[in-house]
């Protein structure tokens, strides 16, 4: 999900319209020959082998535990800063940093999807003597030399969501990420419960061959192994390019291909809205749908639940708050304080239409891709989108 947000623009660019898939095919073949693995591929690969501890959200601590007393400056180096997820993330980072009175400066740099600029952003902050840096290394391993140099220069540098490769603890302080297979398991368990252990399920993934969807699929399959009467249609993630328009076409195709679809698991709630519209346009009754939280995903459920008795939804967090964990780790190190938090976080369910305690959250005054699982207070979340 983060990798999707990371690559938001480039994946949309790459997602060529149906007719000209050959262009992108050729282009990707050419790229595959000359480029190292992308951040998306690399991050999931390394994520599993990280030295960071896996833990639950209840093991996270508050900022005041790691503030220390020494006056420091912190910086967020974002590989790309131009979408809703990134803007919420930046606001969360600034919100968290302001909780420590001894953090004198809260700096930010937008890499504009340009690895070269992101590298120079890191180098510039190191040169300025910033003590703690949090980085979203969109370009993956291409960022490693700059990150390693910062680490060697004694800066507390923490990567989050996309891995730069290398070794956490050796090349940089730590790598903070969600536990991807556990997301898959969480979705699959909920779907199995909704279907009473019987039915046909589609798993909507992202870009072709991305390792994030593959890792989630592992979690899904592990759970479904206990339910012989649940069939995962196609047996693999269906590519949607994490794009709502593409998802709409893809799901329309799936509805043609499979006469019976009983539930959907998707690793992008913001893209799933296209799939839901495909169901509505095809006059197909909506089915239980598991994803991660997005404003419009919940709004569509509220609009259509009355007409579709079987339609339920569940989401895990879109985890914009992960940047807070990364910042705490970096600040703790710079202050010489111990931070016991896990690096790889198992995510809880944040919305579940079958559970009155976790009602879906919709606010049509905010953009369709606003994220309510953010830890920003409501007024600050609104302020992010007030231009």
């Amino acid at each position: 999900m983060m990798d999707r947000m990371a690559r938001d623009r480039s994946s949309e660019r790459g997602g060529a319209e149906q007719g000209l898939r050959i262009w992108s095919l050729l282009a990707s073949a050419a790229l595959a020959l000359v480029l190292p693995p992308t951040g998306a591929a690399w991050s999931q690969d390394k994520m599993m082998a990280t030295v960071g501890r896996i833990g639950n959200v209840d093991e996270l601590v508050t900022m005041d535990k790691v503030c220390g007393a020494k006056p420091i400056r912190v910086a967020l180096v974002d590989g790309f800063g131009g979408n809703s997820w990134r803007r919420i993330t930046r606001a969360e980072y600034e919100d968290e940093a302001k909780k420590c009175p001894n953090i004198k400066e809260v700096l930010y740099a937008d890499g504009q999807n340009n690895p070269q600029k992101t590298i120079s952003d890191i180098q510039s902050f190191v040169a300025q003597g910033v003590e703690a840096i949090v980085v979203f290394p969109d370009a993956g391993p291409a960022m490693l030399p700059a990150i390693r140099a910062a680490h060697k220069a004694g800066v507390a540098i923490v990567a989050y969501t996309a891995s730069p490769g290398g070794k956490p603890g050796v090349d940089y302080l730590d790598f903070i990420a969600p536990n991807t297979p556990s997301d898959g398991s969480t979705w699959a368990k909920w779907v199995a419960k909704s279907l009473n252990g019987q039915g046909k399920v589609v798993f909507l993934g992202g870009t072709p061959g991305n390792l994030q969807s593959q890792a989630e699929l592992e979690g899904v399959k592990k759970v479904f192994a206990d339910y012989p009467k649940i069939e995962l249609l196609g047996g693999r993630p269906v590519d949607t390019n994490w794009d709502p328009a593409e998802t709409q076409k893809v799901v329309a195709g799936l509805l043609t291909r499979y006469p019976e679809i009983d539930a959907i698991i998707s690793d992008y709630g913001g893209g799933s809205v296209g799939g839901i519209r495909a169901f509505i346009n095809a006059k197909h009754p909506l089915v239980p749908w598991a994803a991660n939280d997005a404003n419009e995903f919940a709004c569509l459920w509220q609009e259509n639940k009355a007409a579709n008795p079987n339609y339920q939804m569940m989401t895990v967090s879109s985890r914009t708050w992960l940047v807070r964990v990364a910042l705490r780790k970096a600040v703790a190190k710079a202050e010489g304080v111990e931070d016991p938090e896990p690096s790889i976080v198992n995510q809880p369910i944040v919305e579940d239409s079958t559970d009155p305690k976790l009602p879906p959250k919709c606010d049509s005054s905010l953009p369709p891709d606003a994220i309510f699982s953010s830890q920003l207070p409501p007024d600050k979340l609104k302020a992010v989108f007030a231009q």
Binding site: R9, E12, R13, G15, A16, E17, Q18, G19, L20, R21, I22, W23, S24, L25, G81, G82, N83, S84, R86, R87, P208, G209, G234, R236, D239, D243, P244, A245, E246, Q248, K249, V250, A252, G253, L254, L255, T256, R257, Y258, P259, V273, G274, R277, A278, N281, A282, K283, H284, E296, S364, P367, P368, D369, A370, F385, Q387
Partner: protein
């Protein structure tokens, strides 16, 4: 159809030749032995250029393939074949739901392809499509900001901005002589920058009334499709059966000759970009209406398919000869092909291979028809 309109064009082109003949006769009558005056030389020049233009046009319309189809008919045949085989490839691919999921996307791509066709006919190439569509979809959603009352104003503003973007493109190219792909690429970058700034990276939902309109049907067809059909039929009629339309084609085929024939080349060249800009804006409005929440850079996926539709439709990339209806049918072909491979449920790699193969065959058929096969069939 073509014949009739060609005669109109030929009539038009007769004018300078007749003038030339008269001038010659006049000179001889006066017994003027002096060398041709400047004016007469110009007329001579005009005449020969007009001949060249005629030759261009004749060549273009003279091309026929082995099926006896004109260059624009091949895509109709290919599309018919595609729909005929669809049920055998994916059983339900011609079901009501499948067709009506596909048609709006085809309609939107068709409008974009029509815009690109007009530009290509004027020997141009429009690379500002991603920016123009993204901007159009953004304005039509962000300006009303979900308020139904403001939706009509949002639509008008979007159309105006689309036309204005085209005007900037057209003037840069026709007035300053900048190469079309350079000018439109630059404008595209400007537009994408503006889109990023205006949206802040967050999309906005379309007004409910607009969304409801797009999902409603008229005579059993989605409104988006009906509107697109009407617009394209109109464009086709104007291009084929009006003097302005024929002149438009003449300017594309040979701007110098058209200029010599007294056609205001500049106007036609600029207007092609303006009309194309309005086409993209219309497509963006339909896209926003249909998808409800268009992504911020929704236009990115339309550039290459628009060029593919133009080429598959039979419009010459060298300019002049073109047919917007054929481009629209090519858009339908590409969209149905895409939906068909999705319906097979094959992995993305296989889908890509099937799509590219089908396009290669479609393109190849026409090329083969025009070169190898006619000779071979004639000799046989």
């Amino acid at each position: 159809m073509n014949r009739v309109s060609d005669f109109a064009l030929i009539d038009l082109l007769q004018v300078p030749r007749v003038r030339h003949a008269r001038a010659t006769v006049e000179r001889r009558r006066r017994g003027c032995a002096a060398a041709k005056t400047q004016r007469a030389r110009q007329l001579d020049d005009l005449s020969s250029r007009s001949q060249a233009l005629l030759l261009d046009i004749e060549n273009a319309f003279g091309e026929e393939n082995i099926l006896g189809l004109g260059r624009f008919s091949a895509i109709w045949a290919a599309t018919a074949v595609l729909f005929a085989v669809s049920p055998f490839i994916a059983a339900d691919s011609l079901s009501h739901a499948a067709i009506f999921s596909m048609l709006p996307f085809a309609a939107i791509l068709a409008l974009v392809a029509v815009g690109q066709t007009l530009v290509v006919q004027q020997r141009g190439l429009d690379l500002s499509i991603p920016g123009a569509i993204s901007l159009g979809a953004l304005i039509v959603t962000k300006f009303p900001n979900q308020a139904d009352a403001l939706a009509p104003a949002g639509i008008l503003l979007t159309l105006f901005v689309g036309g204005f973007v085209g005007l900037v493109n057209g003037l840069t190219i026709a007035l300053f002589g900048v190469a079309p792909f350079v000018a439109t690429l630059g404008v595209n970058a400007l537009l994408l920058g503006f889109v990023q700034w205006y949206s802040g990276g967050s999309p906005t939902g379309a007004a409910d009334s607009l969304n409801q309109w797009a999902l409603s049907t008229l005579g059993g067809f989605p409104n988006t499709v009906v509107l697109t059909f009407v617009l394209i039929a109109l464009a086709q009629a104007v291009l084929l059966w009006t003097v302005a339309g024929r002149r438009f084609e003449a300017v594309g085929a040979n701007p110098e000759a058209a200029n010599a024939a007294g056609i205001r080349v500049f106007r036609y060249q600029v207007s092609s970009y303006v009309v194309a800009g309005v086409c993209y804006a219309t497509a963006a409005i339909l896209l926003a209406a249909f998808l409800k929440t268009p992504g911020v850079f929704i236009g990115d996926t339309y550039l290459l398919p628009s060029v593919a539709a133009v080429v598959l439709g039979g419009t010459a990339l060298t300019g002049g000869v073109g047919n917007v209806a054929a481009s629209a049918v090519a858009a339908l072909f590409l969209t149905q092909l895409g939906q068909l491979v999705l319906s097979i449920g094959a992995p993305t790699a296989v889908q890509l291979l099937i799509q590219s193969g089908a396009i290669a065959v479609g393109m190849g058929l026409r090329e083969v028809n025009q070169s190898f096969l006619p000779r071979w069939s004639r000799s046989g």
